[in-house]
């Protein structure tokens, strides 16, 4: 395959994650530039706004902290546009942040003049459950005010980009973030009709952790979101089998004792005889159907419900094994064995570790998914974590932008192709 010399320099990718905006041209190599996926709308009457002599109505990138004022302002002025992977059609502020970020990203890599630059080939990625209007709004953001920086633009789903970055053309990608999770079969193209979305993510693991802390006498700490997340990450475990793990833990509490000291403080959390509950945290993410969770629901912990967002129904109580099976079974029968052989887990919600002394009762995320599928009679499976999970979407976008022919034009039915920018 011959190399397009122009695109070996002027391919540009943008990954709009829930927390971070990763961007940059192919020439950055393995790592993109990263800023928070957020924007701040400053008070134009403030002396800070005037002192910095800016006319921008929204601030993005590394300058945001300079403009932050009182904590009361943050909820109304500091906007995270893609906290749940989607932006409401009418959310003007969020779309303004997205547009500003695209301009910010491109301007950060403005080539010198008169070197033959005719605009970047830009590839942006969105959540796989993004409805069509998000593609329309994002394309519109690129087409406006590009100032000759864009030659052509396209948008691809994040799981598709993960598969490309991982180098697997037939697979199932499972993305799990803070608010939700998606199961996405890929076979040279995203198989959109087979996607399954779950209304469950890292935020739900935080919720069960909070309840565990309350039960253990740490009710005052249970309301601090950042702390609860740290506790979850440090003491949470995924059980191979929840009943067995709880029984073992209650018989040998010292073996599974869960202790966490908050860095830089004297605060230490010690579950002591309740350390068996650390297995609930991991189990809840993968399968919330165990009867043990009913007592938490009865006490008021929100039960994950089925909700519709955009065009997609997010299932609340479906476990990961069932979700993968449903998704794969919507694909052609011939394809199904190949899909089971390449299941990729992507996203921070799968980053669970296994302490050496607990390897007989705790497992990592790929093993748990394998066990859930085995319970459904699906045995010939291969489950892996993605390489470089933080950058795999950006890598996939770069490869897509480099390789797809210039004459493959955008089509609103298939949601692929290049949208050429008139200059």
């Amino acid at each position: 395959m011959s190399i397009d010399n122009y695109r070996s320099h002027y391919t540009f990718a943008m990954d709009f994650g829930t927390s971070d905006f990763k961007f940059g041209p192919i020439t950055l190599g393995d790592q993109p530039r990263i800023v928070n996926n957020r924007g701040y709308f400053p008070d134009k009457n403030s002396v800070m706004y005037k002192a910095f002599e800016t006319t921008a109505d929204v601030i993005v990138g590394d300058d945001v902290p300079l403009y932050l004022q009182s904590a009361e302002d943050l909820s109304s002025r500091l906007i995270y546009p893609m906290r749940n992977g989607m932006i409401d059609r009418s959310d003007g502020q969020a779309w303004r942040v997205v547009q500003t970020l695209t301009e910010y990203g491109l301007n950060a890599f403005k080539p010198p003049t008169n070197n033959g630059f005719q605009g970047y080939y830009v590839v942006a990625s969105l959540s796989s459950v993004s409805p069509r209007y998000m593609y329309e709004r994002l394309m519109s953001a690129f087409l406006q005010n590009n100032h000759g920086m864009i030659r052509a633009v396209t948008v691809i789903p994040q799981p598709f980009a993960v598969a490309i970055g991982h180098g697997v053309t037939t697979c199932v990608v499972i993305e799990s973030g803070h608010g939700n999770s998606q199961v996405c079969p890929i076979s040279k193209y995203p198989i959109r009709a087979a996607q399954v979305a779950l209304n469950r993510g890292g935020g739900d693991a935080n919720a069960i952790t909070s309840e565990i802390l309350k039960d253990a006498g740490y009710g005052d700490l249970a309301n601090e979101e950042a702390l609860v997340r740290k506790v979850k990450e440090n003491i949470g475990l995924i059980p191979a089998d929840l009943d067995h793990a709880v029984k073992e833990a209650k018989q040998s509490p010292r073996k599974v004792r869960a202790r966490y000291r908050v860095p830089g403080t004297r605060v230490e959390i010690d579950l002591e005889k309740d350390s068996w509950s650390r297995f609930l945290i991991g189990e809840y993410v993968f399968n919330p159907n165990h009867e043990i969770f009913e007592s938490y629901f009865n006490r008021g912990m929100p039960r994950p419900r089925d909700v519709k967002m955009g065009d997609t129904v997010f299932r609340g109580m479906l476990d990961f094994g069932e979700a993968i099976a449903i998704s794969v079974e919507r694909c052609p029968v011939e394809l199904q064995p190949m899909l089971y052989k390449e299941v990729l887990l992507s996203g921070g919600n799968f980053s669970w570790t296994v302490p050496t002394k607990l390897q007989d009762i705790a497992v990592d995320a790929p093993t748990k998914v394998k066990l859930l599928l085995r319970d459904r009679g699906i045995k010939n499976v291969s489950i892996k974590m993605t390489n470089a999970p933080q950058f795999s979407v950006w890598h996939g976008c770069i490869i897509y932008g480099f390789a797809v022919p210039d004459n493959y034009e955008w089509d609103w039915q298939r949601l692929e192709g290049w949208m050429k920018v008139p200059n």
């Binding site: 395959m1 190399i3 010399n5 192919i26 403030s46 040279k188 193209y189 797809v404």
Partner: protein, 204 residues
């Protein structure tokens, strides 16, 4: 040295003088003014209003006027009294020099709280930046003192492939060049290069 006359304001009666750094103003009453009921009063009131403009204010009146006036009326107001006749002029009551009142610092009104808050915020930020800069200076000094500069120390591992843009752009395809590591052996390059060639159905 000595006083020299300076122009008075358009509306002001009398004459003005510059005495070193002090400015003086004198309203002169003539003998005929003494029989006019309001002339003296008018002169004194005028001098009172001009106190802010001149350090020294004098009423100059015929000596006869001095016999019937209480000097405390002038001294309490800081206005000097000069009495004159054909032979000499006497300073009957010295004028009290008027000094500028010390400027009171402007007090930030309660309704400027927003400005105060933001100034405090700016100050905090400045102090934080200063602390950060000092810490950075200390860290750099420590680093330089403990380890000599070494090119290897600044090399990122693995080396990022940073490519400079070409001087001119050539449309022709070229043999495979220096691409990022995740391009290596990636089957998607071949799959995606065939997009739009019509050979494959869309899975979607």
């Amino acid at each position: 040295m000595g006083a020299h006359q300076t122009p008075s304001g358009n509306q002001e009666k009398g004459v003005s003088f510059q005495l070193g750094t002090e400015k003086a103003h004198v309203i002169i009453l003539k003998p005929d003014d003494l029989v006019q009921r309001n002339a003296v009063l008018d002169a004194i009131l005028t001098l009172s209003t001009l106190r802010h403009a001149y350090q020294l204010a004098y009423l100059a009146a015929p000596r006869l006027f001095g016999a019937g006036v209480d000097s405390s009326m002038f001294s309490s107001r800081g206005i000097g009294l000069l009495l004159y006749d054909e032979r000499r002029i006497d300073e009957a009551v010295p004028a009290q020099p008027l000094h500028a009142e010390p400027q009171t610092p402007s007090v930030i009104q309660n309704d400027d709280k927003a400005v105060v808050t933001e100034l405090a915020s700016l100050k905090t930020m400045y102090l934080e930046m200063e602390r950060t800069i000092n810490q950075l200076r200390t860290d750099i000094t420590t680093l330089l003192n403990t380890q000599p500069p070494n090119e290897e120390a600044f090399r990122v591992s693995p080396s990022p492939r940073i490519m400079t843009p070409p001087e001119t752009f050539h449309q022709n395809g070229m043999p495979a060049g220096d691409l990022p590591s995740y391009f290596m052996n990636n089957p998607w390059l071949d799959v995606l290069s065939k997009r739009g060639s019509g050979g494959e159905p869309v899975a979607g």
